[in-house]
């Protein structure tokens, strides 16, 4: 078994049941698939523009929610507080902003669908259902 798979399995065993977390984007950037390394930079607010020049707007669920944790571990291979440490460095030195925190998946869907250049995620089976979003 490859090392990465073993770690992923260990993550899942230690951090509860694995739900399918998936990124969603506004239709203006739907054709672009960032690598995992790029996703980490995007969700830590270190990469601020899409290749087409549009500014990136990042939405996340509450940082201590199960959905956020699953997303960080599955899609970014980072622990949530390690991700937050990256944007905290920008926020508290004044040099950048954190992602916008939204209260639930319904609001997440609405905001991602209505904000050009937006990216977010859905943490449950909702991600695979249709609507105003594109899976990456």
């Amino acid at each position: 078994m490859p090392l990465k798979a073993i770690w992923t399995l260990l993550f899942c065993l230690l951090w509860g049941p694995c739900l399918a977390a998936e990124t969603i984007t506004h239709e203006s950037v739907a054709g672009y698939s960032p690598s995992q390394a790029e996703l980490r930079l995007i969700f830590s607010r270190q990469k601020l523009f899409w290749p087409n020049g549009d500014p990136i707007t990042v939405f996340i669920l509450e940082p201590d929610s199960e959905e956020h944790r699953q997303f960080c571990i599955q899609q970014l291979s980072l622990l949530p507080y390690v991700l937050q440490r990256r944007w905290d460095r920008l926020v508290y030195s004044g040099t950048g902003d954190r992602p916008t925190i939204v209260p639930n998946e319904q609001v997440m869907k609405q905001l991602v669908a209505s904000t050009p250049g937006a990216i977010g995620y859905l943490g449950s089976a909702d991600a695979s259902q249709g609507g105003d979003h594109e899976d990456l």
Binding site: L41, Y81, G94, T95
Partner: protein
């Protein structure tokens, strides 16, 4: 100051007129406790202190995609090292231009310097590695002479295939307070230190597993004498090299400082002219990121005040003080527990030999400072993200 106050008012009144995602507010509160055995570092005459409080409120407003205003107000007291005070931590206007792979930008106002990995966020418990930063690189006694810079920052970012390269060129004047004078000379009428110029160049590369940085800075301090000392100035030039390697649940971090200090007057008779000496500091830290949001770390921090006099024998012969005032070796074991997204509990224990960074630097008292000493620190932090 009046201009700063006006911009602040404008920034923090954001909720009244701003909408959507163009403004953000953040804040935190840290309360720490220190118990020190064998030294008066931080705690003064008492063996322990609760006078370790840090409060910060920040606001950021982005009216246009290329323009941003950011400001922060802090209240801070840090035992004997910083008296209780409210200050503008930073307040600047920023303009960015997007490039095909990255951006360029300009900031003007008061900014935090970017020396090493932690300087710009050194007061924020969630971002710094422990309660007290490794003093070899981030000495608390000298914090004031370099942390806040009134001036300009020309900065940029280049997106590379698997990482980013950030750089800053910062120039201006550092905004120091009376804490600096007291930390160098001690209590009493010893005149005043005034920060002069500050200049720095900072480069940092961050990829998945590596974070590597280099900073050069120079800080000038002018001395208006009092007591037994002489009028003069201090010029400090330093290189800081930083590296961090992360592999899943483990992080290894090291930073090295190589400094030149040019001293004219102050404690050197004017006839002796300008004296140049070199100082050196480094630390190595291993950190484990454990389940349930717990981190444990072990750090070794080493500082030598004059690299031509590692063991302090020359210092001892010249000053009559024990040689252990010329160096510091600090072993720290600590941990943090993120109770939930807003609360952080931290604890650390220091075993220290030597007292090179124990203030006051120029009026040492061997009766109050042992060669081997220790420190226990605890801290509870809360943050707010509007």
């Amino acid at each position: 100051m009046r201009t700063y106050s006006f911009i602040f008012l404008l920034l923090f009144s954001g909720p009244l007129w701003a909408t959507g995602q163009d403004w953000q507010f953040n804040g935190y509160l840290n309360q720490a406790y220190a118990n020190v055995d064998g030294s008066e570092f931080i705690v003064g005459d008492d063996s322990s202190s609760f006078d370790l409080t840090e409060v910060m409120a920040t606001a950021s407003w982005q009216p246009l995609s290329a323009v941003r205003l950011a400001g922060a107000l802090t209240y801070r007291q840090w035992g004997t090292l910083a008296e209780s005070d409210v200050r503008i931590d930073y307040l600047f206007a920023e303009s960015r231009w997007q490039l095909s792979e990255g951006h360029l930008g300009l900031r003007a106002g008061r900014m935090k310097n970017e020396v090493g990995f932690y300087s710009s966020t050194r007061d924020m418990s969630f971002t710094r590695p422990g309660i007290m930063l490794p003093q070899s690189i981030y000495s608390d006694y000298f914090r004031d002479a370099q942390l806040h810079v009134d001036g300009g920052d020309f900065f940029g970012r280049i997106n590379l295939s698997e990482g980013i390269l950030d750089w800053h060129v910062m120039a201006g004047r550092s905004a120091s307070s009376e804490d600096l004078t007291r930390n160098i000379f001690g209590e009493g009428d010893f005149g005043e230190l005034d920060s002069n110029s500050f200049f720095s160049v900072d480069l940092e590369y961050q990829a998945d597993e590596w974070r590597i940085g280099t900073t050069y800075y120079s800080a000038g301090v002018e001395y208006h004498p009092g007591g037994v000392f002489f009028a003069g100035e201090l010029d400090l030039h330093a290189w800081v090299f930083s590296a961090e390697y992360s592999w899943r649940w483990f992080e290894l971090t090291g930073e090295l400082l190589l400094g030149d200090r040019h001293t004219q007057g102050v404690y050197i008779p004017p006839a002796a002219g300008k004296i140049k000496d070199h100082n050196r500091g480094y630390y190595l830290e291993g950190r484990a990121l454990l389940p349930e949001n717990v981190e444990l770390f072990l750090r070794y921090d080493d500082y030598v005040d004059n690299t031509d006099d590692d063991a302090g024998s020359r210092y001892a012969a010249q000053s009559g003080n024990p040689a252990y005032f010329a160096y510091s070796k600090d072993w720290t074991f600590g941990g943090r527990w993120l109770l939930n997204k807003d609360w952080l509990l931290a604890a650390e224990y220091h075993w220290i030999e030597g007292a090179a960074w124990v203030s006051p630097l120029l009026t040492r008292d061997p009766n109050q400072q042992a060669k081997n000493w220790s420190m226990l620190m605890l801290q509870l932090s809360y943050r707010i993200q509007w």
